[in-house]
């Protein structure tokens, strides 16, 4: 399904075709794909490098079972075919961040085959759903890091990252706009974080995207694509799609042709530029790695992987909707796995779903945004939040007072019922006290009462406000409303 996003050129409108290859580090494992060195981010250079990672003479790779398990779980979460039989191949090329002179990858027989990701282009529009195909997923080694700014004539090589496990997730060229690319990447990231295989931390480099873009006139065959490598944020990916598509349209409309090449994105200038062409860079001479046998997965292994999967975003969203939560709220609540699990705990603590969803989205998120916190930072536990919501639901406090209590909870970390007790914030439904306040207000505002009876209905709100003020906000609003109506006639 091609979207209606078009680049408007001189010669007409152009469709954009996008495919993404996402490299996601398997952050769930302590050690590397083929060596026992640590994978922790940010260590001193070359301290997380074994002799195998340094490709010393005579060193050999031994695969990490947990890396395979995480890749399989990820494939299952993407509804993909898991290949019982797969194989490792060597991708041969020379670069200073590649100590072996080859990368152990999987070309011919990847671990995971075709799958699918559902994206929602507009949170508020249930019908803006699109399926984006996954072509395949394979596991491979990450490369080391090269640094060029430390020395005038030398580059420095740090192999800490060399050999860390990567999942390469290749999409089908099913995206047709920057928005779709962004939605896909966000959804993919969410799923990876739900599964727990990759933390999706693009700033730290645990997830990066190669963006393949081509353009064509509607109805024509695919155009030549370019590949912009190592884009490390969703925003940049979307910018690359837009910029590269426009650049290609300009080239084509001025009579040029698109060269199939690798490009790099420069976020400061907002442009992609061609990588200085490495001649023969593309003859990788893939062949099966003779140090490794084919990988064969047992049914038991696959069953355990499947059983270990948590409820995934789409399923959770649908379950929340089934509880009466609005599609928009359900969507917002399930984007981040920590939020979704926090919300699940809130429901488990007895909160009413619709009320809880509204409160989390409006109040809790609002507070977190103001404070610059994430849900993991919040001092409020789901149990305490449930308690607060219950106090409102059973009429102990009003909604207005609840907001106050919430602020106090954020400041002090105290439990809501204690706050209400200590500060005497319970609302009253005592009709006697309320009647007295209503009478006093109506008596003090006789002129307005006359206007109200004369047709100015809006003044009702004024009376409610005055009564609430007189009762220091502790009157049950429902009862106030009822008593006012009764007395105003």
């Amino acid at each position: 399904m091609v979207s209606d996003y078009r680049i408007k050129g001189e010669t007409g409108e152009w469709e954009v075709v996008v495919g993404l290859e996402v490299h996601a580090q398997i952050t769930a494992t302590a050690s590397k794909l083929f060596s026992g060195a640590s994978t922790t981010f940010g260590a001193e250079p070359n301290t997380q490098v074994s002799l195998v990672d340094a490709a010393m003479p005579g060193m050999l790779p031994v695969p990490n079972k947990e890396c395979i398990r995480q890749a399989v779980r990820t494939g299952m979460a993407l509804d993909a075919v898991i290949n019982r039989w797969s194989r490792f191949d060597r991708k041969n090329y020379f670069y200073a961040d590649l100590p072996q002179g080859y990368q152990i990858s999987q070309l011919y027989h990847p671990l995971v085959g075709a799958g699918e990701v559902e994206i929602l282009l507009d949170d508020k529009d249930e019908n803006s759903v699109k399926q984006i195909g996954i072509e395949r997923i394979h596991v491979e080694q990450d490369a080391g890091k090269l640094m060029h700014d430390q020395h005038p004539t030398m580059s420095y090589v740090d192999l800490n990252r060399s050999g860390v496990a990567l999942m390469e997730i290749v999409s089908r060229p099913d995206m047709n706009s920057p928005a779709e690319a962004g939605a896909y990447l966000r959804k993919l990231r969410a799923i990876l974080r739900y599964v727990g295989s990759c933390d999706g931390n693009m700033e730290e480099g645990s997830m990066r995207a190669d963006v393949n873009v081509s353009v064509r006139k509607p109805g024509e065959d695919f155009g030549t694509r370019t590949e912009t490598k190592n884009v490390n944020s969703v925003r940049f990916v979307m910018a690359v799609v837009e910029h590269e598509a426009k650049r290609q349209v300009e080239v084509l409309e001025s009579g040029g042709s698109i060269v199939q090449e690798t490009r790099l994105y420069d976020p400061d200038k907002g442009v992609t530029r061609s990588l200085r062409s490495k001649e023969d860079a593309h003859d990788y001479r893939y062949f099966p790695d003779p140090d490794l046998l084919p990988l064969e997965l047992t049914e038991d292994f696959l069953a355990e992987c499947k059983a270990s999967l948590p409820e995934l975003p789409d399923a959770k969203r649908k379950r929340f909707e089934g509880l009466g939560i609005t599609p928009y709220n359900a969507s917002v609540l399930t984007v981040e796995v920590e939020t979704a699990r926090w919300f699940d705990a809130l429901l488990d603590a007895g909160a009413e779903p619709k009320q809880a969803a509204n409160w989390v989205v409006a109040e809790l998120f609002g507070a977190l945004n103001r404070r610059g916190d994430t849900i993991s930072d919040t001092p409020i536990s789901p149990e305490e939040a449930a308690e607060l919501l219950k106090l409102v639901a059973d009429g102990t406090i009003s909604g207005t007072i609840a907001k106050q209590v919430f602020e106090i909870m954020l400041e002090t970390g105290e439990a809501p019922s204690r706050i209400v007790e200590e500060r005497g914030l319970k609302q009253t439904s005592d009709t006697g006290a309320i009647d007295a306040a209503v009478d006093a207000v109506l008596a003090a505002n006789a002129d307005k009462v006359a206007e109200y009876k004369g047709g100015k209905q809006a003044l009702f709100g004024f009376f409610v406000g005055q009564v609430m003020k007189a009762m220091q906000g502790k009157a049950n609003p429902g009862v106030v409303n009822e008593r006012l109506r009764a007395k105003l006639g």
Partner: protein, 492 residues
């Protein structure tokens, strides 16, 4: 040769254990022999102190009643095995001065069993060669001379040329070699000693400089079949650091030695009778059949139809794997680095041009070519299919027989320089040895006799997967009947 240096490993073990002589005496005798043997150029590095240290430890162990299987046995280690703190060059300039901070699993096991290291043994560069003439450290000269009085320097074979020469000349009690396409067996045949390549995966490849990963195997070379069994028992065993290592127990090969072959069928493959092989070698082969018959075995004609395609198959697969395995020699992290270059790529190209010899370059180039776009299917994939057929040939043949007997090499040792002008002529040296390598089967060379010029000839036994015992036993049967006692006359 001193008396001590002409003893077998079994004799040394029993002698030290029985107190007939001390381990120190043995080590000193060998150190002296090594020093005196320099004209052969068998050793690239001598480590007499390490040999003495192991000897002293052995003598202490003896006093404490805690002798190990190889206590006090001085060995030479092929320079393809990483030895911690001791130069490991793989016969190449590109690793000149490289001292690994680690020990290979196999050499580590030998040392843990009490063996002492006399030094590192010269070899063809990166194990690519059949005459030890491609070494960056000069050729090894065989201790054997032809009886024609011409005094021509002969090759000890290769790639484990230094290893073979050392055993034959009494410069080590035993040695390690590696065999990818015959590099243990052919030099063993050329120098009149025993050498066995075990089943692929029996010995760990961890810490052995890789040439062709699906073919490389470590193995012992020594004077007798029993000595080979003793060494192999220590060298073999599952290693979790090598994903191709076989997780199977190591049999007691020495204890299981038996030269009675009643009930065994010996396969004689028709395709191994080829034109151009000297009549003496075919004659020795027939003699070998008779010896085995005498031991109780029944000779059976078998066919290994794809034999003629084995060498070309090998010379596609081995260079291809090597071209990838040798990519790490790039001047970045260890080894030679050419300075004064403008860019990283220039550094790679200049370093590798300066560091690799002609044969290694040739094989890297061939290997790169057969893997490259457009040729991969026609060459590499095709060769792997033929390899499947070769393996199948053996599986079929082993339904009709239990052990296969062939000559080891198509000629006796030739003179240095005789075959260097044509790489193909050199490759043909391994025509009998390569098929067993491709199939991963255990295979051994045992001395059969001398040719008309007084130069050794070997007989070659191939067994089923994991049947090293069958191979050793048949070799023992030949050893007992061949009566090969000839030693090279000391000219150095």
């Amino acid at each position: 040769m001193s008396e001590l240096t002409s003893k077998t490993i079994a004799e040394l073990r029993d002698g030290i254990g029985g107190g007939d002589f001390s381990a120190r005496e043995v080590a000193e005798a060998y150190n002296a022999a090594v020093a005196a043997g320099r004209p052969l150029n068998a050793y690239t590095v001598e480590t007499p102190d390490l040999a003495l240290a192991a000897a002293d430890a052995a003598d202490e162990a003896r006093a404490a009643g805690a002798l190990k299987p190889l206590s006090g046995v001085p060995l030479g280690i092929k320079d393809l095995f990483a030895t911690e703190g001791v130069d490991t060059t793989a016969g190449s300039n590109i690793l000149k001065g490289f001292k690994p901070p680690y020990e290979s699993t196999v050499s580590g096991k030998l040392k843990a069993a009490g063996a002492g290291m006399l030094g590192k043994l010269n070899m063809d560069e990166f194990a690519m060669g059949s005459s030890n003439e491609t070494s960056a450290y000069g050729p090894v000269i065989s201790p054997w001379k032809r009886s024609d009085g011409g005094n021509a320097a002969l090759t000890p074979g290769g790639s484990s040329g230094g290893s073979a020469a050392a055993v034959a000349a009494g410069l080590a009690a035993g040695v390690t070699g590696t065999d990818t396409g015959g590099s243990i067996r052919q030099p063993a045949a050329f120098t009149g000693i025993c050498g066995i390549k075990p089943t692929y995966g029996r010995c760990s490849r961890w810490g052995i400089v890789a040439f062709a990963s699906s073919l490389d195997q470590a193995g012992p070379m020594a004077r007798t079949v029993r000595d080979c069994a003793i060494l192999l028992e220590v060298m073999a065993g599952f290693d979790p650091k090598d994903a191709t290592s076989l997780d199977v127990p190591v049999p007691r090969w020495e204890a299981g030695l038996s030269s009675g072959l009643k009930g065994k069928r010996v396969g004689i493959p028709t395709e191994y009778r080829i034109d151009g092989v000297p009549a003496e070698i075919d004659a020795l082969w027939e003699q070998g059949v008779e010896w085995l018959r005498d031991a109780g075995a029944e000779p059976v004609k078998i066919s290994l139809p794809h034999t003629a395609h084995a060498l070309p198959t090998y010379y596609i697969i081995a260079p291809a794997e090597a071209s990838s395995n040798l990519a790490r020699y790039d001047g970045v992290r260890y080894g030679l680095r050419k300075e004064g270059v403008k860019s990283l790529d220039d550094m790679y190209a200049a370093t590798r041009a300066a560091g690799f010899g002609a044969e290694v370059k040739r094989r890297i180039m061939i290997g790169t070519y057969v893997l490259s776009a457009g040729f991969y299917e026609a060459y590499f994939t095709k060769a792997q299919k033929v390899r499947t057929l070769i393996k199948r040939d053996f599986a079929e043949a082993f339904k009709e027989c239990d052990i296969i007997l062939t000559p080891t090499a198509p000629s006796a040792a030739f003179g240095l320089g005789e075959k260097m002008s044509d790489p193909l002529a050199m490759y043909l040296n391994d025509v009998f040895a390569v098929p067993a390598s491709l199939a991963g089967l255990p295979a051994m060379s045992v001395p059969g006799g001398l040719d008309g010029q007084g130069v050794p000839l070997g007989l070659h036994l191939i067994g089923r997967e994991l049947d090293e015992q069958g191979v050793l036993n048949a070799a023992l049967a030949i050893e007992e009947r061949a009566g090969f006692t000839a030693r090279p006359e000391k000219w150095w």
